[in-house]
């Protein structure tokens, strides 16, 4: 065999070269598929191995190159560790020691050093590796990203590197780094460890990808669940508070947080109010010293104290409309108040704004109170997804609720108006010897006024005018009750107006809810003896125009409104009517009708119109009164229901 080939076989280069080749091939394979963060450092590592081995092949210097290789490899591993947070700096000590290790080697061909100087290389490198190993072993889940791959690969790395230096040290009498055993076996084996470490990184990246997929699927799953259940919550009971309770509960459950809260921007003031709390959520801000630090008091204080929009971390989230993710509160000055007390300790916190388009309307926050459970970037993105969906839902809910409120109001007005439409007499009875006219105009869609004209029996008629206090459906229902009672009892023999009022009042007073007050005026007129009887419950006095003297008279009885006290007894008055006399029943809205200057129409104006037009039949008189009133009021808005009834004795 040619000497050349023999020398190659006997040379350790091929063994080491092979191990470096393995690394290179592996690098090539991975490089095309995955983006391992530390790939470039591993490439440099391979280069260092090859370069130093080649150098040794051509220039079998003492042990500079193996030592150089060892230093270069260690340096690169520092960089690899540094790629994970917190960044790891290569200590100054490394450089100094490195120099101490290399210098003898470089100088040894020139100076004749004893053999044990060769121990400098392995000895120093051994110390440096031990120091690095300590650094490696201080990596934990909590202080380093990608800690899993480092923790998985460190054992074999440390064992191999330290092992190599120990072996080289032990074999110093036989040449140290240059001994055949070290060159042919220890080095190549140690080199293989780098490929082994690289494989951990490859697997890590693979796992990362899978985990992201699984997380995304889980997120989608929980999001769908969230959507369905919110949908149910909304259809069951359209209450914002209940929906928010559900939102925060799901968010807390999804990422295994210790507590969560939803804050909403107040509709009127520039503050955020706590709307829903789940689990253990301490106030994420400085709590005034006065507040007792018992958990119950803290919770009370937290839930009842609104947060101004420009204060605390919650306000910051709303104002900047950015999510805030504080993985470890010890690192963040905004959570400085935390450190002091156990009761308000928060280890990790995530806040995301709830937004719709360009508006921020709230904040969703979750906390971890366990020092060994800090939120990850995944948790942050999960909460962000929740917040997105929650924002959409809440916004629709707001819009829907507002619409509903408006509709409710309109609906209520609609129903009440319908009730009333059925109450008022559709036409006035045609009775001989008198003429009637009636006018009623509600102010805002629903009238608080009611009038009725009932033929009690042949020759007797009843007029009623009523002004119910309050608005809407309750007032309408009161009207129904009054009307029903009047209709029921008016026909009874021996019934007088005051007795009718007593009964109406008794029927309505003393029930559970309010809004059952009304003023009522009742009169009966007997055509045969021309006798008029009148009773009222706190209503305006009856106005009578005497045709003979062209003057006005009023009839009024004492009495409080109906509905106040069950046993109230009302009194009545009577008088006799003459031909062409006019009787007027009216409500507040007529004489209190206001013009733009704030002046009221007044009883005097009403009397004036009647006086001037007393010849007119009631229908025409009614229209004249209305015209006169309207021209007085002008463009001013009608603020009260207007009702009046006219009765004129024929003659």
């Amino acid at each position: 065999m040619p000497d050349f080939i023999l020398s190659i076989i006997n040379n350790s280069f091929w063994a080491k070269g092979l191990s470096a080749l393995v690394l290179l091939v592996y690098l090539r394979k991975i490089g095309s598929q995955a983006e391992i963060p530390v790939l470039s450092d591993f490439r440099r590592l391979a280069l260092v191995l090859l370069a130093t081995d080649l150098a040794l092949f051509f220039l079998p210097f003492v042990w500079v190159f193996p030592a150089l290789q060892g230093l270069g490899v260690l340096y690169l591993h520092y960089r690899i560790l540094g790629a994970s947070s917190p960044p790891t700096k290569v200590p100054v000590f490394f450089w100094i020691a490195g120099l101490c290790a290399l210098v003898p080697g470089i100088l040894s061909p020139i100076l004749a050093w004893p053999v044990w100087v060769g121990a400098a290389g392995p000895a120093v490198l051994l110390l440096l590796w031990i120091q690095f190993a300590i650094r490696l072993y201080s990596v934990s889940e909590f202080n380093t990203e990608r800690s899993s791959v480092i923790m998985a690969s460190r054992r074999s790395l440390v064992q191999a590197m330290i092992g190599l230096q120990v072996v080289a040290l032990v074999l110093v009498p036989w040449g140290g780094y240059l001994s055949p055993f070290v060159q042919m076996l220890a080095f190549p084996l140690a080199n293989l460890v780098h490929s082994w470490t690289l494989s951990f990184w490859e697997r890590f990246v693979e796992d990362e990808k899978n985990r992201q997929l699984v997380t995304m699927e889980k997120n989608l799953g929980s999001l769908f669940e969230f959507m369905i259940t919110i949908g149910n919550a909304i259809s069951e009971k359209l209450e914002m508070d209940k929906v928010l309770d559900f939102v925060v509960r799901s968010a807390v459950k999804a990422i295994n947080a210790d507590g969560g809260a939803v804050f909403l921007v107040d509709e009127f003031e520039d503050v955020l109010k706590v709307k829903a709390v789940e689990g253990d959520f301490p106030p994420p801000y400085q709590v005034p010293a006065k507040v007792k630090l018992r958990i119950k008091d803290l919770a009370n204080y937290f839930q009842s104290t609104p947060i101004p929009l420009d204060k605390t971390i919650v306000g910051e989230c709303a104002m900047t409309h950015q999510g805030i993710y504080i993985r470890d509160t010890r690192d963040d000055p905004r959570m400085a108040q935390n450190a002091q007390l156990d009761q308000i300790y928060i280890a990790s916190i995530i806040l995301v704004p709830l937004m719709q388009g360009k508006k921020v309307f709230g904040v969703l926050a979750v906390v971890s109170r366990r020092g060994n459970f800090l939120f990850t970037a995944d948790h942050f993105s999960q909460i962000r997804t929740f917040a997105d969906y929650t924002s959409l839902t809440i916004n629709s809910l707001f819009t829907y609720l507002q619409l509903l409120e408006k509709q409710e109001m309109e609906k209520e007005v609609g129903i009440a108006a319908e009730i009333q439409g059925q109450l008022l007499p559709s036409s006035l009875p045609r009775v001989s010897s008198i003429s009637l006219a009636a006018f009623s105009l509600p102010a805002k869609g629903v009238s608080g006024d009611y009038y009725d004209i009932i033929n009690i029996r042949k020759g007797q008629i009843l007029l009623a005018v009523c002004d119910v206090a309050g608005k809407g459906i309750p007032a309408s229902l009161v009207m129904v009750m009054i009307r029903t009672i009047i209709h029921l009892v008016a026909h009874q023999p021996g019934m007088s107006v005051s007795r009718i009022l007593d009964i109406v009042n008794w029927g309505i007073a003393g029930k559970v809810s309010l809004d059952r007050f009304a003023t009522v005026a009742l009169l009966t007129y007997d055509f045969v003896n021309h006798r008029l009887e009148y009773s009222n419950a706190a209503h305006h006095p009856l106005l009578i125009f005497r045709a003979a003297s062209k003057t006005f008279e009023t009839l009024d009885t004492e009495g409080i409104p109906i509905g106040l006290e069950k046993k109230t007894k009302y009194s009545q008055l009577h008088t006799v009517l003459h031909p062409a006399d006019i009787v007027v029943l009216y409500t507040d809205g007529i004489i209190e009708a206001m013009n733009d200057q704030g002046t009221q129409y007044s009883l005097e104006s009403l009397q004036q119109v009647i006086l001037v037009h007393c010849e007119l039949p009631p229908e025409k008189l009614k229209r004249t009164i209305i015209e006169n009133m309207n021209s007085f009021v002008g463009k001013a808005k009608q603020h009260d229901d207007q009702t009046f009834v006219l009765m004129k004795i024929d003659g």
Binding site: V265, E267, F268, E269, D270, K290, V291, K292, D297, Y301, T305, P306, I307, P308, L309, K311, A318, M319, H321, M355, Q356, K358, K359, V360, F361, G362, F398, Q402, M409, K444, G448, A469, G470, K471, G472, L514, D515, F517, I560, P561, G563, L564, E565, E592, G598, H639, D640
Partner: protein
């Protein structure tokens, strides 16, 4: 987050005593009709006002004070009420024929102590200040109406010089959903 303690004011020339544009009604001082009078007044409030129940209750307290304490439930004596409402404001003036609310300064002091007890969440101490009583209070008086009133009527609770007329005003904050971001 600061708290400034509200007070009853005495100032006859306060803008809240300006009666222009207000409705007016006079009522007999009949204790039984207090809620009825209140209803007549609050009927004029636009339905768009949120929490109209609360507005009604606050108005009833002022009318009750005038009827019961001002006029001693004497139906011969009258209370005069001026009132006006819009979607953004409520304005009320109630005058009675009595000698006036005597202890306004004492009341202000009492209220201050009460609020301080509340701020330090000292509920035992707060218990001493939950009810303001005078020689004329009876067992049916809660003694707490003015505490709520001074918080509710954010434009002020103002008395005239004789202390027998009180003018109150409330500005309803306008509603919006969410905050615009630039």
């Amino acid at each position: 987050m600061s708290h400034d303690i509200k007070e009853l004011i005495i100032n006859e020339n306060h803008p809240l005593f300006d009666r222009t544009g207000m409705f007016f009604k006079e009522f007999p001082s009949d204790f039984r009709q207090i809620r009825y009078f209140t209803l007549l007044v609050v009927q004029k409030a636009p339905p768009e006002i949120k929490e109209i129940n609360l507005l009604e209750q606050q108005i009833s307290e002022i009318i009750k004070n005038a009827v019961k304490h001002g006029n001693r439930n004497n139906p011969e004596k009258k209370i005069r009420v001026w009132y006006s409402f819009s979607t953004g404001h409520a304005h009320l003036i109630v005058e009675d024929e009595g000698e006036g609310f005597q202890g306004i300064e004492e009341w202000n002091l009492f209220n201050r102590k009460r609020v301080e007890a509340f701020l330090s969440q000292d509920f035992d101490d707060l218990g001493n200040y939950v009810s303001y009583r005078t020689t004329r209070s009876d067992e049916h008086d809660g003694g707490n109406a003015m505490f709520a009133a001074v918080e509710y009527w954010n434009d002020g609770v103002v008395f005239n010089n004789v202390h027998n007329a009180v003018a109150v005003g409330k500005t309803f904050p306008q509603r919006r959903v969410g905050l615009e971001i630039d």
